[in-house]
């Protein structure tokens, strides 16, 4: 399946993917509105980790073939859809955070309403290429099929 991959050689650490991700999932059509018009700033599902020696790496859900988060989910809120995308059903999530503990990549986070927030490859919004991929200024984030390599 096509996944989001990051090439740290080109990741600048500008964190714009986070902004684009948060905006894309905010439901707003205007970025300024999304960030400045509400008490709660939208939260990104991708996180740029800034390391020493100017290493930057944007981390987002790997959509594992056998995802531990899904295994650990106590309510069945996390599922794998037909395309292999790991999805969250907010209405069923109770915010127990078991999935966060299980995730070996540290890709998961919690939203304003205490339920799980995770990358769903923008299937719910823009469609096509994930927003972080489309808007990365240095082509550091790509959306490719690499034969199951995570």
């Amino acid at each position: 399946m096509k996944r989001v991959y990051v090439n740290e050689e080109w990741c600048l650490g500008c964190h714009l993917c986070e902004i684009q991700c948060a905006f894309a999932n905010s439901g707003e059509t205007d970025m300024v509105k999304a960030f400045n018009n509400s008490e709660k700033k939208p939260i990104s599902r991708i996180t740029v980790e800034d390391g020493a020696d100017d290493i930057h790496f944007a981390v987002s859900c790997r959509h594992c073939d056998t995802p531990w988060c899904v295994k650990g989910c106590i309510t069945g809120a996390l599922t794998v859809n037909d395309n292999g995308v790991v999805q969250i059903d907010e209405t069923r999530c109770v915010g127990c955070r078991t999935c966060i503990l299980m995730c070996p990549y540290g890709c998961l986070t919690v939203g304003h309403n205490k339920t799980l927030l995770k990358c769903e490859l923008c299937v719910e919004n823009a469609g096509g290429e994930p927003s972080c991929v489309q808007r990365c200024p240095n082509n550091a984030i790509v959306f490719e099929d690499r034969d199951g390599v995570l």
Binding site: L16, V32, R135
Partner: protein
């Protein structure tokens, strides 16, 4: 500490309503202009550091930023303008020679803008390049004045080495060190894809780029950085750099802080040591010495590589070119005084040399008058800004052009003219790793390919309009040009008539 006389040149205008405080501007500014104030939850700007490179402006996701030139004015007058006064303040402060980057910003006449191109009407049909063949391939190098065949019609003459270009445009010399590895990679890959050449500049050739050798011109300059046998044999041609348009008569100085590990290895000099190119080649004090270097290089490469001699456009450029043509060079490249540079003394850049248009017209005519135009090809650079400039240069007599600044612009350069600081936010004129990685050669080479292909399309359109279907029929075809607003003397030098004539 004394008073700082100089008011910040630019103002950062931030639309607070649009700013979402994502801090991308802060992270992207190597000059540390932007910062976030936790207490007031807002972005601040240290405007004195701003060089107007536009990096923050282009990356701001909400278009909340713009940089404007300050309207704070000294009490200037026509003679003593703000810039002039500021330079005095700066020198009074530091006691140093003023340094600048890129081509002169001064308002000298640009003759390309005073030349108009012809088109066919009625007596001769224009040609549509989308429907008819249209050719832009050129060969650079010495042409034989006579082809000898034996009785079986087999060619006896030995053909001098040539460079074959799919279009008459090359990327001009910019050294590894003055620009980044990723900039070089972008140029090399684009040149390969386009079937043209890029030029290593005087900093040697990075090992990783030997694979692009067929589309590389390797340069030998007065510092001889990175010159060895494999290097000389690696490219399609060798260029001896005698001068540079932005700083004729001046050598080069790459500060030690730009000489990191990889640059050091490529240049064959220690890490952190200033790389100084002397003003002259110390083995070339006259034309006969140049001949020796040309033939040394030919010996070293088994007479397989054409040798280019690059000179700055100076007052007696025609005579110098004539001398070079008679010294065994295959190609002469002339760099006009509007040409770019990584760093040059401001006074030299703004006052020494002549525009490339005049130099080209003079050299081409002189070589024809002396009947030696066939002995060399002419490549010109120094502010070729668009495809019309290319067409005009070729009609004036050039075989091809070099583009440097235009190529850098394609890579992201916004002409902030502070290359000499080494803090290029676009990852071009810097060796700082965090900045270099900002230029992804996948993107850079694609943008260069786009640019040059676009120009080539436009060149073909203009040629088609003139009823010309191959670039060689445009070369030196000055009848296709007319001057506008030029004096009789200027027209005479260009060998063209005035519009309306």
């Amino acid at each position: 500490m004394s008073i700082n006389f100089i008011y910040p040149e630019y103002e950062v205008v931030r639309n607070e309503k649009r700013c979402i405080k994502c801090r991308a501007c802060e992270r992207q500014c190597a000059n540390e202009v932007h910062s976030y104030d936790q207490e007031f939850d807002c972005m601040e700007a240290q405007e004195s550091q701003c060089v107007d490179c536009q990096r923050c402006v282009t990356l701001c996701p909400t278009n909340a930023l713009k940089i404007v030139k300050t309207n704070n004015r000294y009490r200037e007058n026509a003679n003593w303008q703000q810039q002039t006064m500021e330079e005095i303040f700066r020198q009074a402060d530091t006691g140093g020679v003023l340094l600048s980057s890129m081509g002169t910003p001064k308002d000298y006449p640009n003759y390309f803008d005073k030349i108009l191109i012809n088109a066919s009407q009625v007596t001769n049909p224009p040609i549509d390049p989308l429907r008819e063949p249209m050719e832009s391939k050129v060969f650079l190098g010495k042409k034989l004045n006579k082809l000898e065949f034996d009785e079986n019609d087999e060619l006896l003459s030995e053909i001098p080495p040539q460079i074959e270009l799919e279009m008459p445009i090359m990327f001009s010399a910019m050294s590894y060190g003055s620009i980044s590895e990723n900039a070089h990679k972008s140029l090399a890959r684009a040149a390969t894809e386009l079937g043209i050449c890029y030029n290593t500049g005087e900093g040697g050739l990075n090992q990783d780029l030997y694979q692009y050798g067929a589309n590389t011109i390797v340069q030998v300059a007065s510092g001889r950085f990175g010159v060895h046998r494999d290097y000389l044999n690696a490219g399609a041609a060798i260029e001896i750099k005698m001068g540079q348009g932005a700083k004729p008569g001046i050598g080069g100085h790459l500060p030690g802080k730009k000489i990191q590990e990889k640059v050091s290895r490529t240049r064959m000099i220690p890490v952190g040591v200033d790389a100084i190119s002397p003003a002259p080649h110390h083995d070339i004090y006259s034309i006969e010495d140049l001949r020796q270097l040309i033939f040394s290089l030919k010996e070293a490469t088994n007479y397989k590589k054409p040798v280019i001699v690059k000179i700055a456009a100076v007052h007696n450029v025609a005579a110098i070119a004539s001398g070079i043509a008679r010294s065994g060079a295959d190609i002469i490249s002339i760099d006009g005084f509007r040409g770019g540079t990584g760093a040059a003394p401001t006074r030299i850049r703004d006052n020494v040399g002549i525009p490339i248009e005049l130099a080209l017209a003079a050299v081409d005519q002189r070589l024809r008058d002396e009947k030696i135009r066939n002995d060399v090809s002419i490549v010109v650079g120094g502010s070729i800004r668009n495809s019309a400039d290319v067409v005009k240069a070729i009609a004036l007599g050039a075989d091809a052009v070099y583009i440097g600044t235009a190529a850098l612009l394609a890579l992201g350069c916004h002409l902030c003219r502070t290359c000499h600081t080494g803090k290029c936010n676009w990852g071009i004129a810097t060796q700082r790793e965090d900045l270099v990685k900002r230029l992804n050669p996948d993107i850079g080479s694609r943008r260069l390919v786009n640019l040059v292909s676009a120009w080539n399309h436009e060149i073909m359109e203009m040629m088609g309009g003139m009823g010309i279907n191959s670039i060689e029929a445009l070369k030196g075809n000055r009848l296709m040009l007319r001057g506008i607003g030029m004096s009789a003397k200027e027209l005479e030098i260009f060998g063209i008539a005035h519009a309306g004539e």
